[in-house]
């Protein structure tokens, strides 16, 4: 149970980084940490005590299959990691484009728009 708890702590720390830090690279790092937290959470949901990796080897019986951890969250996490990578590439390209326009990574100096 404490494991879930630490995941949530990690998630909140990412959120804190996103909200409180002004540097846009720091904001990117916040998003990355949040991604880690969610991926870990999903894998932990699928863990079975004493479980093994869900790869069948020749001659495995029913008992061995019973010990497999849940494969579905792993499939979800694989997708989620890829999405995270894609978002990161997009974010980094926005960051260096912003740097080119403003010469700084500081959001409070970049910010002109009023929300």
């Amino acid at each position: 149970m404490t494991v879930y708890f630490l995941c949530v702590v990690l998630l909140t720390m990412g959120l804190y980084c996103l909200v409180a830090k002004k540097n846009i690279v720091k904001k990117v790092i916040g998003v990355v940490i949040m991604d880690y937290a969610v991926n870990l959470y999903l894998i932990i949901i699928g863990y079975k005590t004493g479980g093994t990796a869900p790869v069948v080897e020749p001659g495995m019986g029913e008992r061995a299959l019973e010990r497999f951890v849940d494969p579905l969250p792993q499939a979800l996490v694989l997708t989620s990691i890829v999405i995270g990578l894609g978002v990161l590439a997009l974010m980094v390209s926005m960051c260096i484009r912003l740097y080119e326009k403003h010469g700084t990574f500081d959001m409070s100096q970049i910010s002109k728009l009023r929300g």
Binding site: T2, V3, N39, Q74, V77, V82, L90
Partner: protein
């Protein structure tokens, strides 16, 4: 039937500390390297949790993330000087932090949420039991992502395609052919 809990806790505590360093350090290079350390710890944690596929992917993606972050951003500007702290944001987040932790304690201990190490597996039992005979893929995770849920994986490939296309679109030289007078808002 080894007990992995001690290793898992060690890794998780390491990850939390690494994240704190990444968030609070003034030097962006240190921040990026700390966050990558967290990522590598995550990859090891996946290995302990019986997810070698994810561990491999996390590892290689982490390398790429590190390279992209360093080459893309850090070489430009390395220091993150906080001119002034946004106290309101800090307070709001701390309150949020407390709420989530309290809420989490309530949820993760409750009857409605399965305890750690006892997943329900109502649908995935079918994957585990019938995966090999139905799809002929020995790696059940692959059989899930590329056969049972291939449509999701197509979406995943599309996300990557879209984000790369978006990044290329954002990195082109000039946005407009001939600039017109634009009156700022």
């Amino acid at each position: 039937m080894e007990n992995i809990t001690p290793q898992l806790y060690t890794l998780l505590v390491f990850m939390v500390i690494g994240s704190i360093v990444a968030i609070e350090t003034r030097n962006l290079l240190s921040a990026v390297i700390s966050v990558s350390a967290v990522g590598f710890a995550l990859s090891v944690a996946f290995l302990f949790l019986g997810a070698p596929d994810i561990a491999i992917t996390q590892l290689v993606v982490e390398i790429l993330v590190l390279i992209i972050l360093i080459r893309g951003t850090i070489l430009l500007d390395n220091t993150a000087v906080e001119l002034h702290r946004d106290t309101l944001a800090v307070i709001v987040t701390l309150i949020f932090f407390g709420l989530i932790l309290g809420f989490g304690a309530m949820i993760f201990g409750s009857r409605g949420f399965p305890a750690f190490g006892e997943p329900l597996m109502s649908v995935s039992r079918v994957y585990v039991m019938r995966g090999l005979p139905e799809t002929h893929a020995a790696n059940i995770v692959t059989s899930v992502i590329l056969d049972y849920r291939a449509y999701d994986t197509m979406g995943e490939a599309t996300v990557l395609f879209g984000s790369i296309l978006g990044a290329l679109a954002l990195l082109r030289k000039d946005g407009k052919v001939a600039k017109k007078e634009v009156v700022p808002a």
